[in-house]
């Protein structure tokens, strides 16, 4: 309303100017009239003279309408009007003005109607395609409007006094508003049925108008469809429609025209907004200066009714039609096709009529932009603008969100699939996994990959971790996300699709692992790659939104925690990493790899299972000196510590400590021994060719290491002697300790002297340093004295547990390292009587030979034995280095298994009970569900207890009278002190 206020003030100053200029001498007569009777204001001006005065004013108004305003004296007119009002002829003046205005407007209205008729007659058949002619009406109307406005400004100036005094007193419309109001009534709402012959109808019209004013009811024309206004707005809509289809040749011109008309409507609407006493009947209602008041009887909002509503409806229809026709198989919208294919990133293979999801997304994006600029150009009021955008969003996005996500080949899900299955460099397993996915994916990307060349897929870039991330596709996803994020509810469809995809892929990986298609490490690798890709999707395509991240995390947790397998596999993976994968890798790479692992680790619920396996692997690595890098080991442990706290890793750190102390001890022992060597020569050492057996012992704290009580095997005497010496030393150095030998995981180096092979040029004895386990050493040393031994004999001599014995024997009989020959043929070892013969013909190019262990599974298979011929034996226990320590694949700790190991289960029981007691001790009385929730919360760092499991523990505690059930409510437990 500021604008209105501004014009009125300027108008006032205008009139002041007029006064000043006209005082020079223009109108002597009128000024005389004024000066003769300056103070006799109460003298009645009689009616006839009033009419005279008015008619002069009326003719002046006519002049103004005829654009002859310059010839008029505004001062005189103002004075006349002033006098009329002063002499209580305000009513006469007001009505007269109204009449005059109506007559003029009626005339121009009639002109417009005529024009409209001519037009519709001219372009009777072609509704929208009739070329530029149809705009004449609009142009004319706009002209008419501008003129009317100019006129009204002038008229208002003349009747300013009336505006100030008469109008507020009688609650009439101010003159300017009156003009607008009349314009609406007479021109905009003029029925098309009206004849152009305005003068004849004038009287009747006036009557009708006064009647309608008297009633102040809804206008007739409101019910009548075809008014000049509706015709005009239809035309306006046609223009906009054409613009949407890009068929407007002279768009800027049109838009300015439209803008003008929309302005007109808005102003008309405002003029109508206030509530005025158009007739005395309605006097009871208070006048509202607030122009926004909306529910008055005569307050039909022209703009909303005649334009906004229709416009929005039209837009809705337009976009609904466009979007549905694009997404279903129907034909497109005629001429729009060319433009469409330009604005999309189509690869060119699609028929233009139907969009792929991505094309649609781009199209919708540009549509939204268009609408926005159009709204800007047309200067639409904010309410319309937002309503319009809202409609477009609903029609283009919300309604089709699901379709877009699910669309075969190009929907969000499909693209995700492509992204998820892009081949990874350097990972056979992942590639095979994704290969399988590709088979199922009919998407465009699959075609590219089907051709087998990575080069075909532009924009693919391997990340630092060797994971290929399809940047193009992610950009597509990002476009879709950006579009969807306009309508928050539809983003959920994207999130759903994301989590669904992760779940599916994850389960596929789990299945692969289950069916042994992929080894545990490959499984983890697959998960890692998958995470990498989806993380890229969430961070780049979904702009890293919180909800997306959450959904991703949940999805990963969902499939990873289906059973304990993931924890196990992850541990195996880390083991491989630390043994081989990171050997010699630079620090940054190590950190990155481990970070990746930790991310997965975070998803795990069964952290204790991971710990158990990890500990086991770590023990093997440490004792077998297999660790690739000490630094990496420590980095891993510190990462775990950061993740799960001190308690979680204290044992692991203890293991490292033990290793360090052991080294120191060994050092001390060695110097201690040097002192002894000179004084006493051990007789038994001499037996072994004078070379003493070196023993390297790792002293391990029982509580830190995964221990297992395995009966120590019987060691060769030479080794035993060396061990005894160490024991004696150790126990005297550290009193009060107990050493128990764990021969389980030791290793030894044996020097084997083999006879020359017949027919070979070299005739001297061949020597090999065999690197074997302690058990293997024990077995081999037996062959020093005998050539053939049965399984039973070996077992009796060594006391190696059956399973291990078989396994170690088989690994000595593999085709590659056939140090022993097995009596039976085929798989495994047949029975107690199976014989093993020393193979004198063993050959190897290397002097140092490392005998690999076969896995437990292979111990029953492999190795086809051939009949043995005996030869001279010459294996002597040379420099045997062995570590006595205990780390074992204890029961249940089988790599790749999916169940929680028994030992871990046991730990969990204790942890649970401890947690329950702790909680109950603090709370004394607690509801069952609360207890379960609290326990779960406290233990979530290590594992996720099943409610059933918790319940069993509670029952057990009730049984042992730590707790009791409340007498009144069985769901409540009490702590019993």
């Amino acid at each position: 309303m500021e604008g209105a206020a501004a014009t009125s003030t300027s108008a006032r100053s205008n009139s002041a100017n007029n006064n000043a200029s006209s005082s020079n001498g223009n109108a002597a007569s009128s000024s005389r009239k004024f000066t003769i009777k300056p103070f006799r204001s109460y003298t009645q001006m009689d009616t006839s003279s009033a009419h005279d005065t008015f008619s002069s004013l009326a003719s002046a108004m006519d002049e103004i309408h005829n654009r002859n305003a310059s010839t008029l004296s505004f001062e005189e007119l103002y004075r006349n009007a002033y006098n009329l009002v002063l002499h209580k002829h305000g009513g006469l003046l007001y009505e007269g003005v109204q009449d005059r205005l109506s007559v003029h407007l009626r005339r121009s209205g009639a002109k417009l109607v005529k024009l409209a008729r001519e037009e519709s007659a001219a372009s009777g058949n072609g509704n929208g395609n009739g070329g530029g002619d149809q705009y004449k009406l609009l142009e004319e109307m706009a002209n008419c409007w501008t003129e009317h406005r100019i006129t009204m400004v002038m008229v208002r100036d003349i009747f300013m006094y009336m505006d100030r005094t008469y109008v507020p007193q009688h609650r009439k419309r101010p003159v300017y508003d009156l003009g607008l109001w009349l314009f609406r009534r007479v021109v905009w709402e003029r029925s098309m049925e009206d004849d152009g012959n305005d003068m004849e109808e004038y009287e009747g019209e006036q009557q009708a108008m006064q009647m309608s004013m008297g009633n102040s009811g809804p206008l007739k024309s409101a019910e009548n469809d075809s008014t000049l206004g509706t015709v005009a707005s239809t035309l306006v809509l046609q223009v906009i429609h054409a613009d949407r289809q890009n068929r407007l040749s002279d768009a800027p011109q049109r838009t300015s025209l439209l803008k003008e008309l929309i302005h007109m409507l808005l102003e008309l609407a405002h003029a109508n907004a206030g509530q005025f006493n158009d007739s005395s009947v309605l006097g009871a209602r208070g006048r509202r200066t607030d122009q926004q008041g909306g529910n008055g009887v005569d307050n039909i909002p022209v703009y909303e009714r005649d334009f906004e509503e229709v416009f929005l409806g039209e837009s809705q229809d337009f976009y609904r039609m466009e979007s549905t026709s694009r997404l279903s198989h129907s034909v497109g919208l005629g001429g729009a096709n060319d433009d469409i294919s330009n604005s999309t990133n189509d690869n060119g293979s699609k028929p233009a009529a139907k969009y792929s999801a991505m094309e649609y997304v781009h199209r919708a994006q540009s549509r939204l932009l268009e609408e926005k600029t159009r709204a800007g150009l047309l200067d639409l009021p904010t309410q319309t603008k937002s309503a319009l955008l809202r409609i477009v969003e609903t029609e283009l996005i919300e309604r089709h969100a699901k379709t877009l996500v699910e669309m075969e080949g190009s929907g969000f899900s499909s693209i995700l699939k492509v992204v998820a299955s892009s081949p990874a460099v350097g990972s056979v397993a992942a590639a095979s996994a994704s290969g399988r996915l590709m088979m199922a994916s009919p998407a465009r990307g699959a075609l590219g990959m089907g051709a087998g060349s990575r080069g075909m897929l532009g924009g693919m870039e391997p990340s630092e971790n060797g994971v290929v991330i399809d940047r193009d596709r992610i950009a597509d996803l990002a476009a879709m996300y950006d579009l969807f994020s306009r309508v928050p509810s539809s983003v959920n469809h994207l999130r759903d699709a994301l989590s669904e995809r992760i779940r599916l892929d994850g389960r596929a990986l789990v299945r692969d692992q289950e069916t042994n298609v992929a080894p545990p490490a490959a499984f983890v690798k697959g998960v890692l790659d998958m995470r990498e890709r989806f993380a890229a999707v969430v961070s780049d395509a979904m702009r890293g939104e919180k909800k997306g991240q959450k959904r991703m995390r949940e999805a990963f947790e969902d499939f990873l925690n289906a059973d304990a397998r993931a924890a196990n596999c992850l541990a195996v993976y880390v083991d491989e990493l630390l043994r081989v994968g990171l050997r010699g890798a630079e620090e940054r790479k190590v950190a990155r790899e481990l970070d990746r692992v930790i991310v997965i680790f975070r998803y795990l619920a069964d952290k204790d299972v991971f710990e158990a396996y990890y500990k086991n692997h770590l023990a093997k690595r440490l004792l077998g000196n297999k660790s690739g890098s000490e630094e990496a080991e420590r980095a891993m442990v510190s990462l775990l510590k950061a993740e799960c706290g001190y308690q979680f890793t204290s044992k692991l750190e203890g293991m490292f400590n033990d290793m360090r102390i052991s080294k120191e001890t060994a050092e001390k022992y060695r110097s201690h021994k040097k002192g002894l060597v000179n004084t006493s020569t051990d007789a038994r050492d001499a037996e072994n060719g004078g070379k003493p057996v070196d023993v390297e012992v790792s002293v391990l704290s029982n509580s830190h290491w995964p221990s297992q009580n395995v009966q120590p095997c019987i060691l060769p005497t030479a080794v035993k002697a060396a061990m005894d010496r160490f024991q004696k030393y150790y126990l005297t150095t550290y009193t009060g300790r107990k050493l128990s030998w764990q021969t389980f995981t030791g290793s030894a180096e044996i020097r084997a002297t083999l006879p020359p092979i017949k027919g070979s040029k070299k005739s001297n004895a061949r020597r090999h340093d065999l690197s074997v386990t302690t058990y293997q050493m024990c077995i081999l040393v037996l062959f020093n004295t005998q050539d053939v031994l049965t399984l039973k004999q070996i077992r009796d001599e060594t006391h190696i547990p059956e399973d291990e014995l078989r396994r170690h024997l088989v690994s000595l009989c593999t085709p590659k390292h056939r140090i022993l020959r097995k009596g039976s043929k085929g798989k495994g070892i047949s029975g107690d009587d199976d014989t093993f013969t020393y193979n004198a013909e063993y050959t190897s190019k290397m002097t140092r030979v490392k005998i690999p262990m076969v896995s437990m599974r292979d111990a029953t298979g492999s190795a086809t034995g051939t009949a043995a011929t005996s030869g001279a034996n010459g294996i002597d226990g040379g420099a045997a280095a062995m570590g006595g320590a205990g780390a074992a694949a204890s029961r249940g700790l089988v790599d790749g298994s999916s169940t929680v190991p028994i030992a871990v289960e046991e730990d969990r029981r204790h942890l649970l009970e401890a947690a329950i007691v702790r909680i109950m001790k603090a709370r004394k009385i607690l509801n069952h569900n609360d207890l379960v929730a609290e326990v779960t919360r406290q233990l979530s760092g290590r594992f996720a207890p099943q409610p059933q499991f918790v319940k069993k523990r509670v029952e057990s505690l009730i049984e042992r009278e730590y707790l009791e059930r409340d007498e009144g409510d069985r769901r409540v437990y009490r702590y019993m002190a």
Partner: protein, 156 residues
Amino acid sequence: WEPTKKPAEIQKEEWMAGCHKLQLDSVDKFKKLLPSLDTGFMDREEFGDFYKFCFQFNRSGTHKTLDKDLVVALLKMCLTGGRIQSERLNTYCDFLETTKDESYSKITLDQWRSFLDFSYEYPDADALEKYDESQSAWPVLIDEYCEHMEKLGKKK
């Protein structure tokens, strides 16, 4: 029904104290009282105590649990006569007899007592349908019984 100090026997003082409590000073009065000892006349609270007593009474030595077979027999003894729905009792006993879970070869006091309360709370099959295992604080034994019942219901 005071708990006895030793299982399977009522000591003389305890007997006397009990008699005194019930104001029994003559054999005649005792005879008069006998019919009221029918469990059917007890209200829930009294019966609950009696029910608990049944368990305690049958314990042998320092054992805290009862054998499953004994429990089944005891249940049938204590709970017949409309205390709880016979369908509940019979199916429960069947379940106990057929279950193969080793951990249920002995029944604890908690499990014993829970069954009575459970039967009050879920008297018939309709009520049982509302049973929510994830929210329940009942012993796992009861959970499994419900699962068992659900399976039976499906078979039918």
